[in-house]
C-alpha cells in the first residue's frame, strides 16, 4: 500500500485511540503552505508549455462544472436530507468545490503507477474552488443586497488556499522549468514526504470528526459516499468525452469533482453563511468523503476512466 495512505490510516488510529500525537498547528500551516506552493509551481511550469488559447475552452468547461455541482447537491440535501436551507447550501458548496489534499493524493497515485496526466491540472483546482462558494452563498441567502460581496470576494481570492496556489502558478509560469530547478529540492523532492505528514494530521483531524458522525445520523454517511461517486463519474465522463483529457487527466478531474473542500469553503461559509452549522459540512467532507476518496474513490475513478475509454474511446 502507498505509504502516504498508511500515514493517513496511522493518523486515524492514533486519533481514535486518543494518543498524544499532534502536529503543532503552526507546523500544519507550514506544511499546507508548502503543498499549495508546490502544486502551484508544478502547474505553472506546465502551463508555460501550453498555448493559452487551447486551454481556454477547458477552463470554461471546468468553470461551468463548478457552478453546476452545488446546484445538483443542494436539493438532495434539502429535500432528502431535510437540512435547513443554510446547512444544505453550505454542504453543497463544500461538495461543489475541491480538496487540494485529495488532489495531491491523486497525483501521487498516478505517479506511482506511471500514468500520464496533464500537469496543468493545478489550474483547474483553482478554477473549481471558487464558483461553488458564490453559488453556496446565493443558495443560502438569495442574491441579497446584504451580502457583503466585497468581503466574500476577498475571502475567496485572498484566502490562503487560492492565493498560494495562484501565486505558485504565477511563479512557476514566470520562472519556467530551469528557473525553478534551484528550489526543486524543497518544493518537489520533499513533496511526497510532506504530503505524508499532512495526511497523518488529516487522519488525526478525521478521527476527531468521527464522533460527530453518530450525532448527525446516517444520511450524511450515505451522502458523503454516494455524492463523490456520482460527481466523480460525471467528472470522468466530461474529462474524457468533452475535454479530451488523457486517462490520467480524466482521473484527476474525476477526483476533483468528487472531492469536497475543507479549507477555502469552510472559511468562506463561516464568514458569509454563519448560520450554517460548520460541524455538519466538515463531518461529511473530512470525516467521510476525504477518507473515502483517497482510499477507495481514486482507484475507482481510474477504473471508471478505463471503462469509459473502452466504451466510448479516448
Amino acid at each position: 500500500m502507498d505509504p502516504i495512505i498508511l500515514f493517513f490510516v496511522l493518523g486515524v488510529i492514533l486519533g481514535v485511540s486518543k494518543s498524544e500525537v499532534r502536529l503543532p498547528s503552526q507546523i500544519y500551516d507550514f506544511i499546507s503552505i508548502l503543498l499549495l506552493l508546490s502544486i502551484g509551481l508544478k502547474g505553472g511550469i506546465e502551463l508555460a508549455k501550453q498555448p493559452f488559447s487551447t486551454m481556454l475552452p477547458q477552463i470554461l468547461m471546468v468553470l461551468a462544472i463548478g457552478f453546476i455541482l452545488p446546484i445538483i447537491a443542494f436539493p438532495i440535501l434539502k429535500y432528502f436530507g431535510k437540512f435547513k436551507r443554510a446547512d444544505a447550501a453550505s454542504i453543497a458548496a463544500h461538495y461543489g468545490s475541491v480538496s487540494v489534499g485529495t488532489f495531491a493524493v491523486s497525483l501521487a497515485y498516478l505517479n506511482t503507477r506511471e500514468i500520464f496526466y496533464e500537469e496543468y491540472m493545478a489550474l483547474f483546482v483553482v478554477v473549481l474552488e471558487i464558483p461553488a462558494i458564490l453559488i453556496g452563498i446565493i443558495l443560502a441567502k438569495g442574491i441579497s443586497k446584504e451580502t457583503k460581496w466585497g468581503k466574500v470576494t476577498h475571502e475567496v481570492f485572498l484566502g490562503k488556499g487560492v492565493a498560494l496556489m495562484v501565486g505558485g502558478l504565477l511563479v512557476g509560469y514566470l520562472a519556467g522549468p530551469t528557473g525553478v530547478q534551484s528550489i526543486a529540492p524543497l518544493f518537489f523532492d520533499l513533496f511526497k514526504g510532506i504530503l505524508a505528514l499532512f495526511l497523518l494530521e488529516m487522519g488525526l483531524i478525521t478521527a476527531s470528526q468521527l464522533s460527530s458522525l453518530k450525532k448527525y445520523g446516517f444520511f450524511l454517511l450515505g451522502f458523503g459516499i454516494i455524492m463523490p461517486i456520482v460527481f466523480g463519474s460525471l467528472g470522468v465522463i466530461i474529462g474524457s468525452q468533452l475535454m479530451g483529457l488523457s486517462l490520467g487527466g480524466t482521473v484527476v478531474l474525476g477526483t476533483l469533482t468528487a472531492s469536497a473542500s475543507y479549507i477555502a469553503v469552510p472559511a468562506a461559509m463561516r464568514i458569509s453563511v454563519p448560520e450554517a452549522n460548520p460541524t455538519l459540512s466538515l463531518t461529511a467532507s473530512l470525516g467521510i468523503t476525504f477518507p473515502f476518496n483517497i482510499m477507495i474513490g481514486i482507484p475507482l475513478y481510474l477504473r471508471i476512466a478505463n471503462s469509459t475509454q473502452n466504451i466510448f474511446g479516448a
Partner: protein
C-alpha cells in the same frame, strides 16, 4: 476619574479581523489578543487546526464602551458563533489616555 473596565471576549479565531474592526468602531482605544482553546456550550474547541481554535480578546474601556461593544458582539455573533463575554472593574495606571 471614570471607572474603567476590562471586557474579555472568548470566541472563534475566524472572527478576529471582524471583531477588531467592530471594537474600533465602538470607540475603544485598543485591544489585546491571545490564542486560546477551550470548551463551552458549543463543544470542544481545541486549537488543533484553524477552524477550531479560539481567541481571547481583552479591551480596556469605560462602562459605556464596554456595554456597547458587548451588546453589539452578542447581537451580531452570539447565535452563530462560539462566544462568551465578561467584564470587571480595573484600575488603569496612567489612565488619562482612555
Amino acid at each position: 476619574m471614570e471607572q474603567l473596565k476590562i471586557l474579555t471576549i472568548v470566541t472563534e479565531s475566524v472572527l478576529e479581523n471582524q471583531i477588531a474592526e467592530d471594537i474600533e468602531k465602538h470607540g475603544a482605544h485598543g485591544y489585546t489578543i491571545t490564542d486560546a482553546r477551550g470548551k463551552g456550550h458549543r463543544g470542544l474547541r481545541d486549537a488543533g487546526w484553524d477552524y477550531n481554535s479560539n481567541i481571547r480578546v481583552e479591551i480596556v474601556c469605560n462602562l459605556k464602551t464596554c456595554n456597547a461593544i458587548s451588546k453589539f458582539l452578542l447581537d451580531t455573533y452570539y447565535n452563530d458563533y462560539a462566544m462568551i463575554t465578561f467584564s470587571y472593574d480595573v484600575t488603569v495606571q496612567r489612565s488619562n489616555k482612555f
